[in-house]
Symmetry: C2
């Protein structure tokens, strides 16, 4: 992805069209190339984050690697790097943040899947961590990934970045992932099962459970890339919209896609009595909501130049993905 | 506690003697005053670390507060502050570190007590977290405390401390608590139950499970207080010895003390087939080991002045405590 909208890489002639206009299609192709390239450096770095230092606790590392290196969309780490690049940073300026966020996201899935929580057997097409390693190891693998994430954030962030900036990123990630952020969202989700909640409650829930880490990715990624205060506010508004759009899309996929397609059990939300966007708004209205959130995300980036094109494309990916 | 050994506060006339000489007794009285004063500021600060920002997830905070504010010896946070003061820092320079370490220690106990781990019902004389709040909340309260600890470490450390120093402390704490430290120790502990392990294995286990956080308390506390490289090495040697002595004392208490005295179930190590120091060395030899570790801790501090007296007294407290 170039420095402005004008030097965008041309789409490959045989690139699949997605039903949108040619400009959209071009952007999609660009983004797939961008995303693949960023995922390559992210996954290489993630592998190093869970390489065991010595022979002790080998099974712990096996358990951590099983979930962390299981593929997945890598949307949070790509978002962190794209936000950093959108304001002029290099991809490696946000690589420590990217890995930390993916480790935190992975820990949260391992713990959420535990029998005492959502009790899920399948994740990304594979048995969940506790089905393979047992509950004790799944608990500890989650604990290890969460803790190590903060060491990775500090140690993998380039020394050229001001320590005060990295420190702000540490605090921002901890706040987003902790008891006033993602963990609170998980609690509200647990307590809400089977209860009547309205669309405002659902937005608040997802703002914590999913949105907080999206916002941390965009804002702390931007911060590490050298964003000013106005840019940070814009990135926050962008990420709030994308995080929610991502969740609306998730709910729609749970209704519309197959277990094979998603690699996890579908229709589980309704079975469990969880409130969803399609459940509250209907499928058609949920699609409209996702589209309007996508517009809101793009509006937030109006003052950004072509370096923010990956962020724009990522917003569309969050809504239009098929898994 | 004064700035040198000469201006030590006189013992109260009716201070209980502990069977050692008068100088020892004086030091014990001083330390109890020092410890009580430091615990006061630590517990006041901990209360603020788990004050809920709004009405959402109230039960999560109740669960976190239940375990974090349940008293306890507070040995790690006192150690962090004492190490900071031993090299000339003020107590509040290490208060963020102290709270972070106690939050991490508390999370590790909540998760260790879970049915899938050690399955304990009693902790500090009260039902364990999951017995009161259920397994899901206990898991999430632990996750919240662990994550929030890093925000507290950053946000409660005074702005006068160089960001690069605080960043080193973040990395040090994460490394000590993570998959190459405390979590690895827990894994080795779980895997070792019922297996034959020797005294070297046991020392390695406790070096990770208990020692790593003790070392982080002393080294990062010293760092925040302005310690030089030689002082940091001395504090590390001190803390390794104290951490191990603390564990030997713990094993001895499990054999010699009552459930009422400890506020947790005793004799559980042997019932569970866990290796212990008394089990491997016998009771008398274990007492001698604890005493020699105490000597080693004091040796490490030979170049420190009277400001390290609380560290010296803390080492003795780790060995001679009765709960």
């Amino acid at each position: 992805m170039g420095n402005s909208r004008t030097n965008r890489i041309d789409p490959e002639p045989d690139a699949p069209l997605t039903g949108h206009d040619a400009a959209d299609s071009s952007s999609t192709v660009d983004f797939e190339q961008y995303r693949a390239a960023r995922i390559t450096i992210i996954e290489e770095a993630l592998g190093k984050c869970v390489s065991e230092p010595d022979g002790a606790a080998a099974r712990l590392f096996e358990s951590m690697r099983y979930s962390l290196l299981a593929g997945g969309k890598r949307i949070r780490p790509v978002l962190a790097i794209a936000a950093c690049e959108a304001v002029g940073g290099g991809p490696r300026d946000a690589l420590g943040l990217a890995c930390a966020l993916e480790m935190i996201h992975t820990y949260s899935m391992i713990h959420d899947d535990l029998p005492c929580m959502d009790d899920d057997d399948l994740r990304r097409g594979k048995p969940t961590n506790h089905k393979v390693f047992g509950e004790a190891f799944a608990t500890l693998a989650g604990d290890g990934l969460l803790t190590d994430a903060f060491a990775v954030l500090v140690n993998m962030t380039p020394v050229g970045i001001a320590p005060a900036t990295t420190l702000d990123a540490v605090a921002g990630v901890a706040r987003a992932a902790g008891s006033a952020g993602m963990v609170a969202g998980q609690v509200i989700d647990l307590l809400g099962e089977g209860r009547a909640i309205d669309i405002a409650d659902l937005e608040a829930l997802h703002g914590l459970k999913t949105g907080a880490l999206f916002v941390a990715a965009a804002v702390e990624g931007g911060r590490l890339g050298g964003a000013g205060a106005a840019q940070l506010r814009a990135l926050e508004a962008y990420a709030r919209a994308v995080g929610l759009a991502f969740q609306v899309a998730d709910d729609l996929l749970d209704v519309e896609a197959s277990t094979e397609q998603l690699g996890k059990r579908t229709h589980k939300d309704s079975e469990r009595g969880k409130a969803t966007y399609p459940g509250l708004l209907g499928v058609a209205q949920s699609h409209r909501l996702a589209r309007s959130l996508l517009d809101r995300a793009n509006q937030a980036l109006l003052s950004f130049d072509g370096r923010a094109d990956p962020l724009r494309a990522l917003a569309r990916f969050a809504v239009e993905r098929t898994r």
